[in-house]
């Protein structure tokens, strides 16, 4: 049950990323939740730091969860869709 909830949230966040960043050719249902968000395009999402800001703003708007600069939790949350989902699950009300 927990597992299914986590997967649903990961899917929701993947959709949020794709729409907030206007990413074409990526399907939220077929993403690897452990793919790195930043860094090279071929192994992950290849986001840059401006994308990080837009993701943070979108997450805040949708879930009321803040991603503050210079916090270890933020650094961890920005690793992959899975860690972002964990962060949102822990902090949303």
């Amino acid at each position: 049950m927990m597992m299914a909830g986590a997967q649903a949230l990961e899917h929701e966040l993947a959709e949020l990323l794709i729409s907030a960043l206007n990413i074409e050719g990526r399907d939220a249902s077929s993403i690897d939740p452990d793919a790195p968000l930043f860094g090279a395009h071929d192994v992950g999402w290849g986001l840059d730091s401006i994308d990080a800001l837009e993701v943070a703003l979108a997450v805040q708007q949708k879930y009321g969860v803040e991603l503050r600069a210079d916090e270890e939790a933020t650094r961890r949350a920005f690793t992959s869709v899975r860690t972002l989902a964990e962060h949102v699950a822990t902090h949303r009300h």
């Binding site: 206007n22 090279a40 730091s49 994308d51 800001l53 991603l67 503050r68 600069a69 210079d70 920005f78």
Partner: protein, 306 residues
């Protein structure tokens, strides 16, 4: 992971020795500005005589900016005014700004946002002194300024300056640390800060934006324009030109009004904005060529002229 070659300016090691810098700072504080300025002559001569790469970069810039073959005295003037501005940092940072004659030109446009507590991006360059800007902002209490700097780059100088003035340290936003930088900037801007940064040197793996600059193609960083577009912030430019003696003039201009730019249009926006900045930078660099403090090849994509 970095595939692009390191930018030319990063290849220059910090030439100065910590003990030498600390000695000069100590001497400047104890002997006063006029006496300390006598040191500028031997220091400038030393750099001119011992650093072919500095001479080369100076000549290649001055030929474009002056529109004639530079003489060795032109290069000496440029190095001397660089050394003078570095020395003045000691006095500006320790609150001795009453010793200076600092004028503000176009402040109505540039300081408008800051005075109203409105966030803005303030772009400058290695042209003249950035510290006179701090002084002008400090005189207007409501204005909050944050400055983006890479603490790893020029670490020794940063440490010395932070030792002179703890406020200096507090207002720095560290450019290191990847994606978090933009979150830091966003938080400062949300608090109504004016965020200042240099927009003339490429950092990290940024491929840069190609612009026309002083008759050649040069590359400028893309970060400032991405940030302005994503946050829809106004962009103000500011250059603190050293006029000789104890005189500085701060030139402010509003380069771009506040306007959020949709993602699809951002690449075009960045190209146009970077060129607009380059055009104004060229104007001020021609007007004050000895204030140009980029002592590396600014046009690496162009064939050598000689």
């Amino acid at each position: 992971m970095q595939m692009t070659p390191a930018p030319a300016w990063k290849l220059q090691r910090e030439r100065s020795r910590p003990w030498l810098v600390r000695l000069i700072v100590w001497f400047a504080q104890h002997s006063g500005r006029n006496t300390a300025r006598l040191l500028l002559w031997p220091i400038s001569a030393y750099f001119q005589l011992t650093s072919p790469s500095v001479r080369q970069a100076s000549r290649s810039f001055l030929e474009r900016a002056l529109g004639r073959r530079p003489r060795w005295t032109d290069t000496f003037k440029q190095i001397h005014s660089f050394a003078a501005c570095v020395l003045d940092r000691v006095f500006l940072l320790t609150g001795r700004d009453q010793d200076f004659d600092i004028r503000v030109s176009g402040g109505g446009s540039g300081l408008h946002y800051a005075g109203a507590g409105q966030a803005a991006i303030l772009l400058t360059a290695h042209l003249g002194s950035f510290d006179v800007l701090r002084v002008v902002f400090k005189g207007r209490r409501k204005i909050k300024l944050r400055v983006v700097m890479d603490r790893q780059q020029g670490r020794m100088i940063t440490d010395v300056m932070a030792g002179l003035n703890p406020d200096f340290d507090a207002e720095i936003i560290d450019a290191g640390g990847g994606p978090q930088l933009v979150l830091r900037l966003h938080e400062a801007l949300q608090n109504g800060c004016v965020v200042g940064m240099m927009a003339d040197r490429i950092v990290g793996d940024d491929p840069g934006i190609a612009v026309d600059f002083l008759g050649g193609r040069a590359r400028l960083p893309s970060g400032p324009w991405k940030l302005a577009a994503a946050l829809g912030l106004p962009v103000v430019i500011c250059f603190g030109v050293y006029e000789g003696g104890n005189r500085y003039t701060l030139h402010f201009e509003t380069l771009l009004p506040a306007r959020p730019v949709p993602r699809a249009e951002r690449a075009d926006y960045a190209l146009a904005a970077a060129q607009a900045y380059a055009t104004r930078l060229e104007f001020y660099a021609r007007a004050a060529p000895y204030n140009w403090f980029n002592f590396f090849d600014f046009w690496p994509d162009e064939p050598a002229r000689d």
